[in-house]
Symmetry: C2
Subunit: 357 residues, 2 copies
């Protein structure tokens, strides 16, 4: 058990942005909202999975929508607790702990907003060990935990509570409401008991994110290589260092989708890397060959600073390094690949192991 103070969120947001593989929302907006909430209400307690009682009621708090929208349509900062309270009313029980659904930039911060406002502790872990674009892409789904009942709240004060026959239907109905509500909403869902967390969560990812963010910051401070520091901590393999030469993006179906093309520089001169994304980076082709796929993490970092580059932050001329990082092994089981493998997203390829270091 430890307390998180506003200034720690700088490192945590940076690290979560890297683990978020380009998605999970812009860490900057989320960080400011969480820091403001902590300054207003006091520090947030983070607890390890082992510290959560077996009968605890753990609720995942997240933002849903297109990150491109959340950049301009700043959340009100009240949606998280509105969604949480609506879910609690539907269940007739109060949450005892909150947890991030994913360690994306905005979505690693969102539980801290609700935690500061309610005084509830945040569990050190998340339901993906990365970020994914759709609500049913969570490890708890592999052990029978349902996304619904799921509460969705917007900035205007509208809420809805879903009860669905499958996690895919929870995604479909929440997504269509999200689009109607303005493409940026908050969700409370995926209710777990404390004794389900070990199987349902990737443990200690908030700690990992904070340490990762610190390692990048410290490397930068001593003019060492921040990207190498990140790769070393994550066991990541460098896929390409280069610059962005083309980005094609569209906001469709409530997602930020698109492709980006990178031209190699320095040791990679002459090589190309193509990234495909749907909120998150999902596929990387090097010189025309698939070399990394979801559910492995494809992380795009600013080559100079080591800062994460979100899919909506990709732009012509940006100097980046792309890392491939192994996902939680549960994602490589048949059930995990069904949920979040490349074929689910419509890519005509199986999962491809990352190239060797």
């Amino acid at each position: 058990m430890r307390e998180i103070k506003p200034e720690q969120l700088d490192d945590l947001a940076r690290g979560a942005g890297i683990l978020g593989t380009g998605g999970g929302g812009d860490p900057y907006v989320g960080k400011l909202l969480a820091q403001q909430a902590i300054r207003a209400h006091g520090p947030v307690t983070v607890v390890d999975i082992d510290e959560v009682p077996a009968d605890a009621m753990v609720v995942a708090i997240s933002g849903m929508g297109a990150p491109t929208v959340s950049l301009e349509k700043i959340p009100a900062g009240t949606e998280e607790v509105t969604a949480l309270r609506a879910l609690e009313r539907a269940l007739g029980r109060r949450a005892t702990h909150l947890v991030p659904i994913e360690v994306g930039g905005l979505n690693s911060m969102v539980p801290f907003i609700a935690a500061a406002q309610t005084g509830l502790p945040v569990v050190d872990g998340d339901a993906m060990g990365r970020a994914f674009p759709e609500a049913q892409m969570v490890l708890p789904g592999l052990i029978g935990v349902t996304v619904a009942p799921m509460a969705v709240a917007d900035d205007k004060g509208n809420t809805l509570v879903l009860d669905t026959v499958s996690n895919l239907w929870a995604e479909r109905l929440a997504r269509s409401a999200c689009v109607e509500m303005g493409c940026s909403v908050s969700c409370a869902d995926t209710v777990m008991r404390g004794d389900q967390l070990r199987d349902g969560l990737v443990p200690a990812t908030l700690t990992l994110a904070e340490e990762l963010g610190r390692a990048v910051r410290e490397a930068r401070a001593v003019h060492a290589d921040p990207v190498a520091a990140a790769a070393g901590m994550l066991g990541g393999v460098r896929l390409l260092t280069g610059k962005v030469v083309d980005v094609e993006r569209r906001t469709s179906g409530g997602f930020a989708r698109g492709e980006a093309r990178l031209a190699g520089t320095a040791g990679d001169t002459g090589r190309t890397l193509e990234l495909s994304f749907q909120n998150e980076h999902l596929l990387a082709r090097r010189d025309g060959t698939v070399i990394a796929t979801t559910p492995d993490l494809i992380c795009v970092l600013d080559t100079d600073t080591g800062d994460p580059v979100t899919t909506e932050g990709l732009r012509y001329g940006l100097r980046v390094t792309v890392l491939g990082v192994p996902c939680d092994p549960r994602w490589l089981t048949p059930g995990g690949l069904d949920l979040a493998g490349p074929r689910y997203f419509g890519y005509d390829t199986d999962h491809v192991p990352l190239p060797p270091h």
Copy 2:
């Protein structure tokens, strides 16, 4: 207080189909579902507004969607009670009475399905005195009754409960869910106390629908003019007798929209009538001039049988008579016209009084 038996629903559905101005769903499908429910569970009690206790909890039960879809995607018959129970859970109270939201064909029948299955009585009245395409177009809205909390259920077992900042938002969010759920769902909403019914409902419209349906049937039996019988009972004015020569329809945004063109026959030879509809008939132009608009009722009847012709049933060659029928006077107040006047639907005209008899 009286009991409704399955065979009475024939007249009721026919009359409600006429009052439904082409919308509210196909009366045939609704009638079969309600008759089956009554045969399985016993007769349904219908009570007058005056018989409802002041503290009663009255819930409107309806179908939402595009009538064109409900024709082919037959409801499961369980959605109504699923929606009702979800609403009751959200409110922590049980309904004492059900009521139709509108007297459209399917939607006058839908409360009887739920009433037969639950044993609850149905209030003789409805919230429109006709049918309208959108959820916020209800007279209770003029006295401050909100559409939400609103429960929506589909045939697959998915439910959602909305709590919204306005009736328009209830419509928007329920509609987007409806589209995602397959364009045909059931709703429980617009909760009223018994002492709100006099101002919130158009009274005795179920009785009117049944008498109207009987009058048409009896006129037909003696080879009298069934359309004249309907017009006489409703104070309606004949706008044109003719045949359908063109229909253009599209299902968009969860609605059945389109236009139909009629060429006059007999005494109307040489005249034309153009109908514009969005689930319901909303505007009639005779020889290029607007002669009837929402919120007045524009009723299309089969000239020979007096049976109602739904907007989705319009087809080339059909011989029909179009009646204009005055709406409930509350619809002609500024608030009523804001909700359901021609300008709300995008027509560049004010409400036009019906032509004299």
